[in-house]
């Protein structure tokens, strides 16, 4: 999509672009270049010396069962967060949309968690499910279920998924609600007159018409789950038990800053950079061509 009218000249636009280009170059492209460079070496933790290893770091990574597992973990985690978030948000949005009045009030009440930092969300959920003092753990215990996400991989995954999804529900809710309210009333009415009852309408009209919103949310949720959940994982499980909750991004951090294995961390950064660059391009092509109903 391009504008019809444009202003002339090339100096002014370059001047306008300069701040962003400079900041991007220094804090994005320079580090990215560094990552690529460093991925060819094994430096010692203190940065006093480094050994050239060619693609050795990548070989090492690909041989590492746990690195490969981190891909799977990331996939499971991201998909779960996305699904939980979207299903709950859609459910709430559909209910709020049915109201003639008051959807604004519910929106205000539901919007809170969006503002809560993932790391703080992690602390809150960790507090509720703490194996010693957690209220939820205690009540679960009363019901005969012994919760222990410190040892149980599935429970750990469940907890980080819920804690990560929690804050996003608000955001998704906003978009779904806006999306629902943007569906022309008359289309719904037409379907009703055509004989479709609530669920039929929802399945055959509402869901398909929401699909642009849904796709958008899908992308942002996956991006969120990929990158912004670091705080949740760091505060709740630290990637454990047994790396069951170690995502790719967490591993970059864990190997780079905890493990002091800068070569491996740089190589992981490079792999992530490539992955995300591909995703960006795909997403971009899609946005440009986005279907608007």
């Amino acid at each position: 999509m391009e504008k019809r009218v444009t202003f002339k000249g090339w100096k002014l636009p370059l001047l306008l672009l300069a701040p962003q280009i400079i900041v991007t170059a220094i804090f994005f492209f320079w580090p990215a270049g560094q990552a690529i460079w460093q991925s060819l070496f094994i430096p010692d933790p203190f940065g006093l010396s480094m050994q050239y290893v060619g693609l050795g770091n990548f070989e090492y990574l690909l041989q590492d069962r746990y690195y490969r597992a981190a891909f799977v973990t990331t996939a499971i985690f991201s998909i779960s967060v996305t699904v939980v978030t979207m299903v709950v948000a859609l459910l709430l949005a559909v209910m709020a949309d049915r109201l003639i009045k008051g959807s604004g009030t519910y929106r205000t009440l539901l919007i809170w968690p969006y503002a809560v930092a993932p790391a703080v969300a992690g602390v809150l959920w960790m507090f509720m499910f703490n194996t010693r003092v957690g209220v939820v753990t205690w009540y679960l215990g009363q019901m005969g279920y012994s919760w222990n996400h410190v040892l149980n991989q599935n429970e750990a995954m469940t907890l980080v998924v819920i804690a990560s999804a929690w804050g996003r529900i608000s955001y998704n809710f906003l978009f779904f609600l806006a999306g629902l309210q943007a569906i022309p009333r008359s289309v719904i009415e037409a379907a009703a007159i055509d004989g479709a009852r609530f669920w039929t309408r929802f399945r055959t009209i509402v869901l398909p018409l929401l699909s642009p919103v849904t796709f958008f949310l899908l992308v942002v949720n996956i991006i969120y789950a990929f990158f912004e959940t670091f705080g949740v994982i760091h505060t709740i499980t630290g990637g454990g038990p047994q790396q069951a909750t170690t995502t790719l991004v967490y591993k970059v951090y864990a190997d780079g800053f905890v493990g002091q294995d800068l070569g491996s961390s740089a190589a992981q950064s490079v792999i992530l950079l490539v992955l995300v660059a591909i995703l960006t391009v795909i997403q971009f092509k899609y946005i440009e061509r986005k279907v608007h109903y």
Binding site: P43, D44, D261
Partner: protein
């Protein structure tokens, strides 16, 4: 006054005691001011220090747990050996005044002190006597061997104790110390003391059997797992758990918080293993002096370290915290003060450390990337506690995953 930055990993009771020492030192003179900063747990503090060094913002002093020793030793250009600092300062410094069992860990082959052994510990066993009584077990029950412990735990469980046994620092206590105490190698090349080309071998039969037993306890409710570091301390101090294997330094917290009678016992061993028991090995942390500071600052550092080694300060620290005394003078002073008599069990740690002459397998560990290797061990052990893996599988995997890290460390430090 010249500021001396000290990054450490102590919070809670230990943090308070450390702050008190710092305040005391700062009051005692006016040339230097030590500023102590809590940098998270041991791993976090170490990483913060390393990262800061890379950024040229390192503190003067960095507390590094024993696990990071090889890493620090490997970073010759990043540290300034303590003996150098002391020599240059001109302050009296006699390496022979320190307990060899402790300082041996932190010295070069020719006996020069690289880091200051600020807080050294060794694992011991804490027993909640009230819980024993609750289960009708005699307070004097013999807990010298793991088989005896096994029986007592069964009784405790059967009597309805929800947490018969727990431990902190599982790898340190139940693999590293276990190996040393039973003269089993943890890694080749004298556990790394003899060179970088070392390989992990802690998947031997003794270790497997021991972990197998813990795994069984975990599954049948005799062992409650609480975390990789000393999270379990909270459970024990709250009176939930009957028996607790933990650093001697757990004493500070237990003494401060426990509202039950407790006992400190030596770490049990397997009497069916030949040569057992040997000494336990050292833990805790030492303080490293970082490179790249001015002479004046190093003089301040020396003054502070000198203050920390004085018999009074050391004795007080030892008595308050349960960390080992690092000088003979402090040890003697403590005995003179009658502390060991008034507080039975407090001498267990020192005795345990010094009872036997260490072998190549019990001198300690000096492995690169050991923090990550511990993480791997922790992960695999958790697999056993959760019932996902057998002990053999877990230890084999840990060895298999850990060795590449040693290779990378070797490569990086060539």
């Amino acid at each position: 006054a010249t500021d001396i930055q000290w990054w450490h990993a102590f919070s809670g009771r230990l943090g308070e005691l450390l702050e008190a020492q710092v305040a005391d030192f700062n009051e005692s003179q006016s040339d230097y001011r030590v500023i102590a900063t809590h940098k998270g747990n041991y791993s976090e503090a170490l990483n913060a220090g390393i990262a800061a060094f890379r950024a040229g913002q390192q503190p003067h002093l960095l507390q590094v747990f024993e696990v990071g020793t090889a890493t620090m030793m490997g970073a010759r250009g990043a540290i300034k050996p303590v003996f150098e600092v002391m020599e240059e300062s001109g302050l009296p410094f006699d390496e022979s005044a320190y307990l060899p069992a402790v300082t041996g860990y932190y010295t070069t082959v020719d006996g020069q002190m690289l880091s200051f052994p600020y807080n050294s510990s060794t694992p011991v066993m804490y027993v909640n006597l009230d819980k024993l009584a609750e289960a009708g077990i005699d307070a004097d029950v013999d807990l010298t061997t793991w088989s005896q412990v096994d029986e007592v735990l069964t009784q405790l469980r059967d009597a309805g104790v929800s947490c018969p046994f727990t431990t902190s620092w599982q790898s340190w206590v139940h693999l590293e110390t276990l190996s040393a105490r039973h003269d089993q190698p943890f890694a080749t090349q004298e556990n790394g003391f003899a060179g970088f080309d070392t390989e992990l071998v802690f998947n031997g039969p003794v270790q497997v059997a021991h972990i197998e037993m813990l795994g069984e306890w975990a599954r049948d409710g005799r062992f409650t797992y609480a975390g990789r570091r000393n999270e379990a301390g909270a459970n024990f101090r709250a009176g939930e758990c009957a028996i607790f294997t933990e650093s001697s330094a757990g004493y500070a917290g237990v003494k401060a918080e426990a509202d039950f009678d407790f006992d400190i016992r030596p770490l049990p061993y397997w009497d069916n293993v030949e040569g057992a028991p040997l000494n336990t090995i050292i833990g805790g942390a030492s303080v490293w002096v970082m490179a790249g500071k001015s002479d004046d600052e190093y003089r301040g550092v020396a003054a502070f370290l000198n203050y920390l080694s004085s018999p009074e300060v050391q004795a007080q620290w030892h008595q308050d915290t349960g960390y080992l005394p690092i000088t003979q003078a402090a040890y003697d002073l403590t005995r003179e003060q009658g502390f060991y008599d008034e507080n039975p069990g407090t001498e267990v740690a020192v005795e345990q450390m010094t009872a036997q002459e260490p072998t190549g397998n019990s001198k300690g560990l000096r492995l690169g990337s050991f923090d990550q290797i511990r993480t791997i061990i922790d992960e695999e052990l958790e697999g056993v506690w959760a019932g996902n893996k057998t002990a053999q599988q877990a230890l084999d995997t840990a060895v298999e995953r850990g060795n590449p890290l040693l290779r990378r460390f070797e490569q990086a430090n060539r």
